[in-house]
């Protein structure tokens, strides 16, 4: 059953793509700024999966030079994603800080209401 093996071998990519699209959809479709940021976070999280999954080899060890081990997992993707997580956290924090300031200035965090207010002034 080749069709089945495509699903069983690649289901992790399907999860990644689903998270990616779900996150991006929330960013586009929601007017609430906090929800937008949640969507953005999900979108970024899908990238962590995209990188981390291929780094794992079943039965692989950490890359230690020793004759006893022959199959290694690549540790680099995990390290890269640590950096990306830091970037994601910083983005989320800055985004939320901006939302707080916007709430103080406008009294709402719904985008359409804010556009309405700006149009009136």
């Amino acid at each position: 059953m080749p069709a089945l093996s495509i699903i069983t071998d690649h289901y992790h990519y399907a999860i990644t793509v689903f998270l990616m699209m779900a996150g991006l959809y929330i960013v586009v479709a929601r007017g609430n700024m906090v929800k937008k940021l949640v969507g953005l976070s999900i979108f970024q999280t899908s990238v962590y999966l995209l990188y981390v999954e291929p780094g794992k080899i079943i039965g692989g060890t950490a890359p230690i030079l020793d004759p006893a081990f022959t199959v290694y997992s690549n540790p680099l993707p995990h390290v890269l994603m640590l950096t990306a997580i830091v970037v994601g956290v910083a983005t989320l924090a800055l985004g939320l800080a901006l939302v707080v300031r916007i709430n103080e200035a406008y009294g709402t965090i719904e985008e359409d209401e804010i556009f309405e207010m700006d149009r009136d002034t």
Binding site: M20, L24, V27, M33, K36, L40, F43, Q44, V47, L50, Y51, P54, P77, L80, T83, A84, V87, A90, T91, L94, G95, L98, V99, R101, I102, A105, Y106, I114, D118
Partner: protein, 497 residues
């Protein structure tokens, strides 16, 4: 000197980074500004030395922590990199003196040290993107510069600045994430993040074989295009430019989008090498079509703006269209035109936005209706403004003409006559929006509101005059702009497969 010489690529990035920390710790506007000024003036020296070295002896390769590439992170400065580094750092150095009074006027005092801190972080990111030879490192610097840019935009006094910063944050993060997805796909294919190594592994044997390469190319193109505000992905730019503090707008217009263009050029020419994927995915044609759309649509929108800053922001979108047009042409003259316009547009737009900042400093408004006859009240400012405006249109004798000449030559070389007419035609629209402003500024009687307006102090006037003079100078003396851009274009096209 000998001890410092081999470490220039990392110093270019580390000095502004430490400067940012220092400026943040000082907590007072004056000392923080002094740090920013010293760092800004140091940067062009380093960048210039590296460009000179790259021109004389070929690309500089610097191994961080002495780990050889492709395992360690490599910093790599070739002619194109050096060219963009010199541009970014020089613009920063020239416009820095303007910041002191302009920022003191527009940003709350408690926030001013953080303003300089954020500026230096942004500079770190921008210089880092260009200096690094590692695709993932470039992403980190992209986010360093972007996050600090969001803060800089949000520091504007108007509450709409917050909204503009938020929208920019959303769009910018989507762009950066697209970029990193693209890099991730390339990493899965090649197992390397080093740009040179990646290019070597994406050899011709991949041609027409891998859908993953096409997907990576698409993700990176869209992601970076969001950052450089390629039409129609420019939605964040007009608001961000219009509501950011004046000096920030000048800095961003001259540097941030230009560095994103560098990334696009680097990926298209050095890494993908147009030939592989452009067969499967007509990237060049798509870029050309969007560029032409930007030149016309954004220019037309600019004609109908009543806010001077907003008008110039839309004009920026149009001018970026010229640059990407050169990238899409992908021949020697076209690419030279695109790259030379990176410099010429940066200088012109910095001058224009500084002039707008000077107007705001004196008049507290940049609405066109408030500026009738301001040319008689602020003659030096507005003369510099006018010169830069003429450059925008592409008048012979200004640097804008040089760019358009090369672009038109590039289109000729391809035999695309229609494109030549489109370049000229869009310049005429630029003439309309520029002419509208110049008419208001020079030919009308000064209104009562402008009673006390006069040219700004020397520290603000001098950067403006220098940039306007550069616009004229580079219209005649093209060795440093078109000459080096030509060398860089030759290297890039030589890298195509």
């Amino acid at each position: 000197m000998n001890a410092v010489w081999p470490h220039l690529p990392i110093l270019q990035v580390v000095i502004p980074l430490f400067g940012a920390v220092l400026a943040g710790f000082l907590r007072r506007p004056g000392p923080a500004f002094a740090v920013a000024l010293v760092v800004s003036w140091l940067m062009p020296l380093i960048a210039g030395a590296m460009l000179w070295q790259a021109l004389a002896t070929g690309p500089i390769s610097y191994h961080i922590g002495s780990w050889p590439p492709p395992w360690g992170i490599e910093y790599r400065v070739d002619v194109l990199g050096g060219f963009v580094l010199v541009l970014v750092s020089t613009v920063g150095a020239v416009i820095m003196p303007f910041a002191r009074r302009s920022v003191a006027f527009e940003v709350e005092e408690a926030q001013q040290p953080w303003f300089y801190c954020m500026y230096l972080l942004c500079l770190t990111g921008l210089l880092g993107i260009v200096a690094t030879g590692d695709a993932f490192n470039a992403f980190v610097f992209l986010e360093v510069s972007s996050l600090s840019t969001y803060v800089l935009v949000a520091l504007g006094r108007d509450r709409r600045a917050l909204l503009a910063a938020f929208q920019y944050l959303i769009m910018g993060t989507i762009g950066a994430t697209f970029y990193i997805i693209g890099v991730g796909l390339l990493y899965l294919l090649t197992g390397t993040l080093n740009m040179v190594d990646m290019a070597a592994r994406l050899g011709p044997e991949w041609a027409g074989h891998s859908r993953a390469i096409v997907a990576a190319l698409a993700f990176i193109t869209v992601g970076v295009s969001l950052k450089l505000a390629l039409f129609p992905l420019h939605a964040w730019l007009p608001n961000a430019y219009a509501y950011a503090p004046s000096w920030v707008t000048a800095f961003l217009a001259a540097t941030a989008t230009k560095v994103a263009i560098y990334v696009l050029v680097r990926f298209f020419f050095s890494i993908f090498g147009i030939a592989i994927d452009f067969r499967d995915l007509p990237v060049a044609e798509i870029i050309l079509a969007l560029s032409v759309a930007a030149m016309f649509v954004a220019s037309l929108i600019a004609v109908f703006q009543t806010d001077l800053k907003r008008m110039l922001a839309y004009s920026s979108v149009a001018q970026i269209g010229y640059i990407t047009l050169g990238i899409g042409l992908a021949n020697q003259a076209g690419l030279t035109g695109g790259l030379v316009h990176v410099v010429n547009h940066a200088l012109m737009k910095a001058a224009l936005f500084l002039a707008v900042g000077a107007i705001f400093f004196r008049v507290r408004s940049v609405q066109l209706s408030d500026l009738a006859g301001i040319g008689r009240k602020m003659p030096i400012t507005m003369t510099a403004f006018t010169i830069a405006c003429l450059g925008l249109v592409g008048t012979p004798g200004t640097s804008g003409f040089i760019s358009k000449w090369y672009l038109a030559t590039g289109a000729f070389d391809k035999g695309w006559w229609l494109l030549v007419f489109l370049i000229v035609g869009s310049s005429l629209i630029a003439l309309v929006y520029v002419g509208r402003v110049l008419e208001v500024v020079w030919l009308r009687e000064p209104s009562a509101a402008l009673e006390n307006a006069s040219d700004p102090p020397l520290s603000m006037l001098l950067p403006l005059v220098v940039l306007a003079a550069a616009t004229v100078y580079f219209g005649f003396e093209t060795q440093w702009t078109a000459g080096i851009a030509g060398t860089a274009a030759k290297d890039l096209i030589g890298g195509l497969r």
